[in-house]
Symmetry: C2
Subunit: 301 residues, 2 copies
Amino acid sequence: MEIVFLGTTAAVPSAARGHSGIALKYHDEVILWDCGEGTQRQLIVSKTNYMKIKKIFITHFHGDHFLGLPGLIQTLSFADRREDLHVYAPKGIKDLIENIMHLGEYGLKYDIVAHTLSDNFELKDEKYTIKSIKVEHSIPTYGLVFEEVKGREFLLDRAKKLGIPPGPAYSKLQKGEKIKLGGKWIYPDDVLGEKKKGFKVVYSSDTRPCGAVIENCRDAVLIHDATFDGSLKNNAIETMHSTCTEAAQVAKEGVAKELYLMHISPRYKTDELLLKESRKIFRNTMVARDLQRVELLHKSL
Amino acid sequence: MEIVFLGTTAAVPSAARGHSGIALKYHDEVILWDCGEGTQRQLIVSKTNYMKIKKIFITHFHGDHFLGLPGLIQTLSFADRREDLHVYAPKGIKDLIENIMHLGEYGLKYDIVAHTLSDNFELKDEKYTIKSIKVEHSIPTYGLVFEEVKGREFLLDRAKKLGIPPGPAYSKLQKGEKIKLGGKWIYPDDVLGEKKKGFKVVYSSDTRPCGAVIENCRDAVLIHDATFDGSLKNNAIETMHSTCTEAAQVAKEGVAKELYLMHISPRYKTDELLLKESRKIFRNTMVARDLQRVELLHKSL
């Protein structure tokens, strides 16, 4: 699994940072979290195949998080997309799509299916779930939690000890079915251990530090709003964003695995200050950069 | 005067080229011609002061020419703009602005004034005129002609010969007023020569080669659609664009001063082919590049 940071600025772009966008590459799919202006170009520059995007999540309706949508819809159309495109966003998404469709002539040969995020929304895919969590910003905003669906560990030693022949019997047990061996029932619990840890990625979107993120970021790669440095807490409160130190505190309290600071104000020309301040609180902190790729490996979890 | 190419691609962006946008820097004003997605970032990267934009022209309503407008409007608002913003575009611009205003929450403290381009539209500023010319694309599209307003040359030798004292008398004559000197009338025609040549910049926008551009590009810096190389004329006809050789032919027939090829298909990784083909027809051809600056100097006209 790979995270590709497409845009990491706050509100206004800079030479170094474009508007918000994160691509999650998982197996043969690309999932897009936010789609600020310029996202389609960042997808192209980062060689992320936009035709593999099936689902786009828009965390809230501030322009810097969704104004890349019309252009991306258009470009997918130029590329002759036929497959449905699912867009998940707060209440109002159906109207937004309707408005976007009136902005120009798209000639779409695919459908855009709008889904409304809510406090208890959960998308269940075969291999992963994505749920939305209500965060604290100036307008209704949802953070996002990606979790890989993983089965229980197969305890090979035990299976061998029980004399189970490798092959279909293993599969059945792994799927949760009991098998009969030499007149005796063997149950999944006899050979299955703990649930394996899957990938977990949490995106706070734009928010004040909040419980919903803390409660959900255990063991996760946490991507958190860090618009300001620690000295500008008043600005953060006023604009309903977070400082880098607040983000680090969230990661610490929630026991995240890694923290990537995002939504960085263009006033910061280098990462130095933000890194220094936040690493004092949560050592495993990075400042996300445009086009940065983060590969997640199971062995490291 | 300076031309800044902000985006030069056709339809879909590439790592090298963003969506259409051209900034004309003239005295203390920035005039924007087209505003494709990503234009605000290109303005920032090229250090073009977006607060000095008073007028934006949208040549037609294909997404790659106007989808940067909502984001730019938003960013001008963040920067606390108070001055009216004038937007000139084909029929439908009022509805488009209305739609854009429903896309998000802008909190504007300035007005957007929509103006409709037509076959005989001409904006008359004190120092320049900009007129729109109907070109030949798949939807209603206007090319743009910027012309500096210049007075007649003041013939100093003649004025001295006539014994006119330098100062207010010179000014009056330059403004077209007669003066009395030693009981004799002296008329402007006595001391004024030919009309001075001003800057002229013509932008074809997306079009097949057409008479309107040829008739208007004499002595101008011509920026012309060159989506394809010469071998792909059929594609150009089908999509209502031009090849680089067609663009060069227009520049030649219209007796342009310089030709900048724009709206370049992402299929061309280098400029070589386009340059080679078009320079055979019109020597003074360049392929416009993103963030390229072209300074126009009076002495070279």
